[in-house]
Amino acid sequence: MQYSEIMVRYGELSTKGKNRKDFIRQLGRNVRHSLHDFEGLDIRAQYDRLHVALNGNDSTAVIERLKGVFGIENFSPVIKLEKDFEAVKETALQMIQAQYEPGVTFKINTRRQDHQFEYDTNQINDKLGGHILRNVPGIKVKMKNPDITLRVEVRLNGIFLSSETIPGAGGLPVGTGGKATMMLSGGIDSPVAAYLGMKRGVKLDMVHFFSPPYTSEQALAKAKELTSKVAGYAGSINFIQVPFTKVQETIKEKVPEGYLMTIQRRMMLRIAAAITLARGDKGVFTGESLGQVASQTLESMMAINDVTNLPVLRPLVSMDKTEIIKIAEKIDTYDLSILPFEDCCTIFTPPAPKTRPDLEKTRNFEKLIDVDGLMQEALDGIEVTVIHPGENFMNQSEDVFAELL
C-alpha cells in the first residue's frame, strides 16, 4: 500500500499541562533527527498530533524508525485522497482486504471537518460499510472492539484513510527530562539501564572506564558500539572515556584485598560525579540491580554511594537478570554485550570481595591512596567522542569486507 503520511499520536506528554509545548517541540526535533536521512519528508509537530508526509518515501522504513522514538503513543499510516467518493470506496476496500483474515470484524469511524462535503458522517459510514460488506465475503460489522477500525477523516484539504494503529515506544521525548551521565561498562545491564533512562526523557552522557593494557582495544570498541546502538533512541551521545589503569594499580597495591572492589567503585563514582557536575548534568545512572553481585548489595551501595550526594539512578534495581536480558534482546544489545572481552570491572577482582563492606573501614582504607591526585589524573586524561546511531567501532574493516561479501 502506498501511504501518503504517518499520523503520530502523542503519549503521556498530552497530559503535561504547560510543558506541553516544549514536549511537542522536542519530539518534533527527535523525530526529525531520527528520520534525517530520508529525503523530501515533511514533518509537522502540531498541537494534537505530529504528521510525517512521506512524499513518496517507503512507509515501512519510516515506521521502523518511528518505533524507536520515545514520546510516541502510537501511529497510523494514512492515505490521502482527493474528495472523490468513488476513490475513497475503492481505497477503503483495498485497505480492508490487505488486513483480511477469516472471521474478521470491522467498523468505520468517520470524522468530518469539512461540512461542505456531499455526505455527512452517518452517510459516509453507511456507504463505506455497505461497500465493504458487499465486496468482502464473510466480513462482519462490530461496533465494540472490532478487529479493524477504518478511520475516515474528511478535512478541508482531502480525505484521509487509516486502518492500522501501530504501538510506539511510549515514554517521554529524550531531552525533556534533562541530562545525566551513565556509567557504561560493556556488560548486559548498563545499555538496558541507559535505554530505560532515555525512555523517561533523559539525555545521557556515557562514562566508560578503561584500563589498558589490562583491558583491550576491543573492550573499548565494544562500549562505543553499544553506545551507538542505544544512540538510536537519542540521536547522538557523548562518549566519555576515562583512563583508569593508574587508579586500579594503586588500589591493588595499597588496599586490603576484601575492599579492593568497594574502593575501586567509589573512585569510579567519584570521577563520574565530577564529570556530571562539570558538564552541568543532574545525576548518575548505573546498571546496578540489587543483589546481583558483591558490589550490588545494599551495604555495598551504601559504602559506594557515600562519595556523592548527586542522585544515583538505578533503573534496573529490582529487575531479575532474565527480565534484563529480555530487554537487551529487544534493543539488540545482547549479542554485543556477551562478547567476551575483559572490562575494568572484571580485572583485579579479588577472589572474595566483601559483600557487606563496613562504611567506616572503607573510609579508613581509602586514606591509604591519594584520592584527589588519582582523580585529577584520570579527569585530565578523559577523551570525549560524539557517537551517532549505527556507527561502527567493532569491525573497522567492514568496508574492506563489503567488497568480499
Partner: protein, 382 residues
Amino acid sequence: MIYFDNSATTKADPEVVSTYDKVSEKIWGNPSSLHQFGEEAFNLLEQSRKQIADLLGASQSEILFTSGGTEGDNWVVKGTAIEKRQFGNHLITTAVEHPAIHNSMEQLKQLGFEVTYLPVDEHGRISIDDLKAAIRPTTILVSIMAVNNEIGTIQPLKEAAEVLKDYPKIHFHIDAVQGIGKAIQDLIMNDRVDFVSFSGHKFHAPRGIGFIYARRGRKIAPLLTGGGQERNLRSGTENLPAIAAMAKALRLLLTDEKQKVAKEAEIKQRIFDHVKKFPLVTTFSEDNDGFAPHILCFAIQGVRGETIVHAFEEQGIYISTTSACSSKKHLASSTLTAMHIPEKLSTSAIRISLDDHNTLAEADEFNKVFDQLYDKFKILSA
C-alpha cells in the same frame, strides 16, 4: 552446452569464487584466535553471518553454519531428538523428503523413536488434515521440505505453520535446500518455523558449506562437539572462505529475485507446453503456483530415464533422472513411488532443473532436440 541440472548442483559464480580465493589468501586466521589475524577472521565471519541474517529477515545469532544441506537436515532431526527426548519420541515428516531427512528418521527409528511419514497426493503434496491427525502428545518434531527436489512440489507450509501454532512445543523444521531464491521466502521464513536448513552449492556457492536458521530460544543438541564454535552448537574451525563466499552468493541470488524467478518460470513453461503435446509424455510437475518455477519432471513411457539422459547428453544437454542422489543407484524415484506412480513409469522419469543463467533460447534448443529424439524413443517404446 546446456546445463539443466541445477537442482543437482550449480556452477559456482565467478564473483563468489573470487571471494573464496581472496579470503583463503588474505584472511586465513582462525576466528577463535585472540591476535589480530584471528580478530579479522572473526569479524568477517560475523559480518557474513549478519549479511545472511539480514537477507532472510533473521537475527545474527539465529544463523549457524554447517557443511551443507545434509548436515543441516541431520542436525535438526537428530539434534531435536536428543534435546527433546524426555518430552517425547515421535517425529513427523513426509513421504517425499530428501534422503538426508528420511534416513536420519530411519536411524532414529532403530533407536526406538517413532516416525510418521505423511502420505502425498498425485501432485506430491501432503494434506493438512493428515498432519493434524498425525500429531500426538509425544510429537517433538515436524519436518517438511519447502520444495520437492524431484518434481518441484511446494508443500503447504503456511497452513502447516497455522496448525503448529496450536502446538508451540513441537519443533517445526523446513528443508529449504531447493526453496531458497524461488520467491517463496515468506512461506519458508514464516512466523512459526523454528529451524530451516540451506545448502550453499544449490545457489552458486562452493560445496561443503551451508547453514541453518534456528529460531532464538529454540534448543537443539549439537552433533559435532569440540572446540565450542558456533556458540557451542557446532564445533570445528569455521570454513571461512566458503562462508564468506556463500554470504555473497546469497546476496547475488536474492538480487532481482522476482525477475529471475519469472524468467525461470517462462523457460519451464515453454518446455512444459511443448512436451505435454506428445502422447508418450506424462508430466509430474505442473505449471501452477503449487510448483517451484525451476523444476520440471516428466516421463516418456517405455524409455528408461538413463537412456533419455544419455541421449540428451550426446546433444550437449545435461539433465538428470529424478534426483542426483538416486540416479546412480538405478532406483525408482522415491517421490514418484510415494505418489503411487507405477514403477514402470517412474523409472522413465527425467528432471529438468533451471536457474537464472538459463535462457529461452536454450528451451527452444531443448524442444528441437526433444522432437528429434522423440521419434527414436517412439520406436523404443513400441
